[in-house]
C-alpha cells in the first residue's frame, strides 16, 4: 500500500467508482451496456442531423435542399417573423425595444437589492412603457393593433405582467383561505377550487368570448388585455395554493408571540407571517411560476400569436415547409433555458445564505 504511486491514485478511484456505479453485478453491467448502446445510437444520430450534415445559420436555401441534416439557415431567414410575427416591418424596432425593456426589468428585479416600493414602481413603469411601445398612438408612433403584437414581446408581456399581478392577488386569496373568518374562508375556497378545476384553455375561451359581454356596453376590451386579465385571475388561484402551504407550515405560536408583543394585525402579517410563509412557499411558487410561464404558450389556442404560433407561420411558407422541427427545437431551447433559470433562481431564493439578495 505504501508503495502505491500517487499518480495512479486517481485511476484507482475512477475504477472503483465505475465498479460501484456502473458494473456492480451482471444485471447492472447489462443495463449499462444496453443504455450506452442506445445512447450512442441516439446521440450520434442527433449529431449527424444537427451538426455534421446540417446547414449552419449563415447558409442559404439552396444548400438546405441538398443537405441531409437540419437547416438552421431557416431560423436566420425567418428570425424576424418568429420573434415578432406580423408586427409591421418598419416598426419592428419597437417590438424589440419592448422586449428589451421587459428583459431589463427582469434582470433588475432579480439582481438589484431594491425596496418593495421601488420594485413595484419599476414594474408598473416597465408595463406602461412596453404597452405604449407596442401599441403606439403616442409621441408620433403609428398605432399598431393588438392582434399584430406577436411572438417574443407578446409572450414576455403576457407572462411577466400576468404573474406579477397574480402574485399579490394570490397572497390575498391565501390569507383569506387561511383566516379564521368563515365568510372569507368560503369565498376563497370556492374561488380557488373552481379555478383550479377548470382547464386553462377553457378559462382563455371565457376571456375571449365571455369577458366582452361582461364589461359595460359600448366599451371594448382588446383581446390581449382580456387574456391578460384572465391569466391574472387564473394564476392567482395557483399561487394562492402555494402560499397557503407556506402559511400552514407556520407554527401558530409565531402569530401569538407577535400578538403578545403588542403588534397589530397588519404588523404581524407584514413582519412575522408573510416573510416566513413566503420563504417556505418558495419551492412551490417556483414550480408554479415555471408552470405559468410554460402555460402562457396556450394563448396560441385562442388566436394570440405567441412563439409557437409565429414559428408555425414561419414553416407555413411553402419554400421552408420542411423545417418545422428546427423551429420547434429553437422554441424548446428558449423555454428550457428560461425555465431552467427560473428554477435555479428559485433554488437560490430558498437558500438561507442568499436571502439578502
Amino acid at each position: 500500500m505504501a508503495v502505491l504511486a500517487p499518480k495512479r491514485y486517481w485511476l484507482r478511484t475512477a475504477l472503483s467508482w465505475l465498479r460501484v456505479n456502473l458494473f456492480s453485478g451482471w444485471w447492472n453491467t447489462l443495463l449499462t451496456l444496453a443504455t450506452l448502446a442506445a445512447l450512442y445510437i441516439f446521440v450520434s444520430a442527433c449529431l449527424r442531423w444537427g451538426v455534421f450534415n446540417a446547414v449552419p445559420l449563415s447558409g442559404d436555401h439552396n444548400s438546405c435542399l441538398t443537405a441531409s441534416g437540419a437547416c438552421w439557415a431557416f431560423l436566420h431567414e425567418k428570425a424576424d417573423l418568429i420573434l415578432t410575427g406580423t408586427y409591421p416591418a418598419p416598426e419592428r424596432w419597437r417590438a424589440y425595444t419592448a422586449t428589451g425593456v421587459i428583459v431589463a426589468l427582469i434582470l433588475i428585479q432579480l439582481l438589484a437589492p431594491l425596496r418593495i416600493a421601488l420594485r413595484v414602481g419599476l414594474l408598473l413603469g416597465a408595463a406602461g412603457v412596453s404597452y405604449l411601445l407596442l401599441r403606439g398612438g403616442v409621441a408620433g408612433l403609428p398605432l399598431v393593433e393588438s392582434h399584430r403584437w406577436n411572438g417574443l414581446p407578446l409572450v414576455l408581456f403576457l407572462s411577466i405582467f400576468s404573474m406579477a399581478a397574480a402574485f399579490p392577488l394570490g397572497i390575498v386569496l391565501a390569507l383569506a383561505r387561511w383566516s379564521r373568518n368563515r365568510t372569507l374562508n368560503l369565498a376563497a375556497i370556492g374561488y380557488i377550487e373552481t379555478v383550479r378545476a377548470i382547464p386553462m384553455v377553457a378559462v382563455l375561451f371565457a376571456g375571449v368570448f365571455v369577458l366582452p359581454l361582461v364589461i359595460a356596453r359600448g366599451a371594448a376590451i382588446e383581446p390581449v388585455m382580456a387574456v391578460l386579465l384572465v391569466l391574472v385571475l387564473f394564476y392567482a388561484a395557483y399561487f394562492a395554493e402555494d402560499v397557503r402551504a407556506g402559511l400552514q407550515a407556520l407554527p401558530h405560536g409565531q402569530v401569538e408571540a407577535g400578538a403578545s408583543l403588542g403588534l397589530s394585525g397588519w404588523q404581524r402579517l407584514r413582519l412575522i407571517v408573510l416573510p416566513q410563509a413566503l420563504r417556505t412557499a418558495v419551492p412551490g411558487l417556483t414550480n408554479s411560476v415555471i408552470g405559468s410561464f410554460k402555460d402562457t404558450s396556450l394563448v396560441a389556442i385562442v388566436g394570440m400569436h405567441d412563439l409557437l404560433s409565429t414559428s408555425r407561420m414561419a414553416y407555413a411558407d411553402p419554400l421552408w415547409q420542411a423545417y418545422a422541427l428546427e423551429a420547434n427545437i429553437a422554441i424548446g431551447l428558449f423555454y428550457f433555458l428560461c425555465c431552467w433559470m427560473i428554477s435555479e433562481r428559485g433554488r437560490l431564493l430558498g437558500h438561507p445564505v442568499a436571502q439578502r439578495g
Binding site: F205, A206, L213, L308
Partner: protein, 405 residues
C-alpha cells in the same frame, strides 16, 4: 417533611382570577372590526355581480338574445374527427357535446394508464443504483419539466404529419398493425357471437377476484404463508376462455387493418390527432409522475429496503412488497393532482383538431354565439369530474393510511 397539597383541596383555596381561566370577551369595537372585512367583501362581490349581470343582460339584449339552453336541441351541422357514439352532422348540439365529453374521457383514460406506466419506470430508474440510468432518468424529467406541453404536442404532430409515410407504404408492425399519416391502425378482436355470455363470465370472474384475494389474505394470517393469487386467477380465466372458445359458445375473430384502395379498413383505427395527443401527454405527464414516484420511493426509509434484502427478498419483491406499497401512501395525493391535471390538459387537443370537449365547444360558440351557456356547461363538467377525482383520492388516501393499533 414537606407535604404535597392534596389536589382535591385546591378548590377551597383562593380562586383563580376569572380573566385568566376564561378567554376575554371581545368588546363591540373588536367585533365590529372583525365583521367589517367580510361585510365589505360581501358588498363588493354583490356589487360586482350585479354590474356583471346588468352588463351581460344589456349586451345580450342589444344582440337580441338571452340566456337560453334550448339551442342544445338544434341541429349542430358540423362533423367531428372521431366519435365513440354514432354521430352525424344532423345530430343536435347536446349530442355533439356528449361526443366531445366521451372523447375527452377516452383520451384522459388512456393517457392516465400510459403516463402512470412511464412514470413508474422513470421513477424507479431515478432511484437506480446505476449512475447512467439514474442520470438519464433525471435528464428526462428535467427536460419535460421545462418544456411547454403544447410545444411537445405540436412538434410531435407536425413531425407525424410530415414524417409518416403515405397509407400505401405504411409502416407495418407485428400482427398487422399499421402506422401511416392517416393514423395508427391496430388489429382488434371482434366478437362474432356469444358476446353476452362472454360479458357475464367476465363480470363474474372480475367479481371473484376480490373474494379470492381476501381468502388468500386470511390464509396468510392463519398460516403465515400466502397462497399465490394472481397466477391462479389468470389461469382460471384463460381456462374458462379456452373452454368457451373451443366449445364454440363464443366465437371471436380478429379484424386486421387492410389497405383497400386509398384507405385502410378493418381493425381499430386511431386517428393521427388522437395518437399524437395521447403520446405527447403520456410522455409529458410520465415525467411529472416519475418525479412523484421518485419522491415516494425516497421517502421510504433505506432501513426498510435493507431489511427486505436481509430477509432474502430479491430486488423485484423488495420493490413490490416493501417499497412501492409504502411509497403509494406518500404519492397518492400528488398523483391524484396529476390525474386531474392530465384530464384538464387534454383540452390542448384543440390545437391539432382532435374533437375533445373544448374543441366541439369552440365550434359551437362560433356557430351559435352562446359562449355563456356553453362555458357554464364546460365548467360544470370539469367541476364534477374534478370533484369525483378528489373524492376518490381522499378515499384512497384514507384507505392507504397507516393504521395505528
Amino acid at each position: 417533611m414537606y407535604s404535597y397539597p392534596n389536589p382535591m383541596s385546591i378548590p377551597s383555596g383562593p380562586a383563580m382570577p376569572e380573566a385568566i381561566s376564561r378567554p376575554p370577551v371581545p368588546d363591540w369595537r373588536t367585533r365590529l372590526r372583525a365583521a367589517l372585512w367580510p361585510i365589505a367583501l360581501f358588498i363588493g362581490v354583490a356589487v360586482l355581480g350585479l354590474i356583471i349581470m346588468r352588463n351581460v343582460s344589456a349586451n345580450l339584449a342589444a344582440a337580441g338574445m338571452e340566456i337560453d339552453f334550448s339551442f342544445l336541441w338544434q341541429e349542430a351541422g358540423f362533423d367531428v374527427s372521431e366519435s365513440l357514439v354514432p354521430y352525424t352532422p344532423r345530430d343536435t348540439y347536446a349530442r355533439v357535446l356528449l361526443v366531445g365529453i366521451l372523447n375527452t374521457l377516452l383520451a384522459a383514460a388512456i393517457v392516465l394508464v400510459l403516463a402512470s406506466a412511464i412514470g413508474l419506470v422513470v421513477g424507479i430508474a431515478m432511484t437506480s443504483s446505476n449512475w447512467l440510468v439514474r442520470t438519464l432518468a433525471h435528464a428526462y424529467v428535467e427536460l419535460l419539466r421545462n418544456l411547454p406541453k403544447l410545444l411537445i404536442l405540436i412538434a410531435l404532430y407536425v413531425l407525424m404529419v410530415r414524417g409518416l409515410p403515405h397509407v400505401r407504404s405504411a409502416w407495418s408492425g407485428p400482427f398487422g398493425a399499421q402506422l401511416s399519416n392517416r393514423g395508427l391502425f391496430l388489429p382488434w378482436p371482434v366478437v362474432e357471437h356469444g358476446g353476452d355470455l362472454l360479458a357475464v363470465v367476465t363480470v363474474l370472474w372480475l367479481a371473484a377476484a376480490p373474494f379470492w384475494s381476501r381468502a388468500a389474505r386470511r390464509q396468510q394470517d392463519r398460516t403465515g404463508r400466502r397462497p399465490p393469487t394472481l397466477l391462479p386467477l389468470l389461469g382460471i380465466g384463460s381456462a374458462i376462455l379456452a373452454v368457451l372458445l373451443l366449445s364454440g359458445m363464443v366465437r371471436v375473430a380478429w379484424s386486421f387493418p387492410v389497405l383497400q384502395g386509398f384507405n385502410i379498413s378493418g381493425g381499430m383505427a386511431l386517428s393521427l390527432q388522437f395518437t399524437a395527443l395521447v403520446v405527447a401527454l403520456s410522455v409529458y405527464h410520465g415525467g411529472q409522475i416519475g418525479a412523484i414516484v421518485r419522491g415516494g420511493i425516497v421517502a421510504t426509509s433505506t432501513g426498510q429496503r435493507e431489511a427486505a434484502l436481509a430477509l432474502g427478498l430479491d430486488w423485484f419483491k423488495t420493490m413490490r412488497l416493501i417499497v412501492l406499497p409504502q411509497a403509494l401512501r406518500v404519492i397518492t395525493p400528488p398523483l391524484g393532482n396529476q390525474y386531474s391535471n392530465l384530464l384538464k390538459n387534454t383540452s390542448i387537443a384543440l390545437a391539432i383538431g382532435y374533437s375533445d370537449l373544448l374543441s366541439v365547444v369552440s365550434t359551437s360558440i362560433n356557430q351559435t354565439f352562446r359562449p355563456i351557456e356553453l362555458m357554464m356547461l364546460v365548467a360544470l363538467f370539469f367541476l364534477t369530474v374534478n370533484m369525483l377525482i378528489s373524492g376518490l383520492v381522499n378515499w384512497l388516501d384514507h384507505a392507504f393510511r397507516l393504521k395505528g393499533r
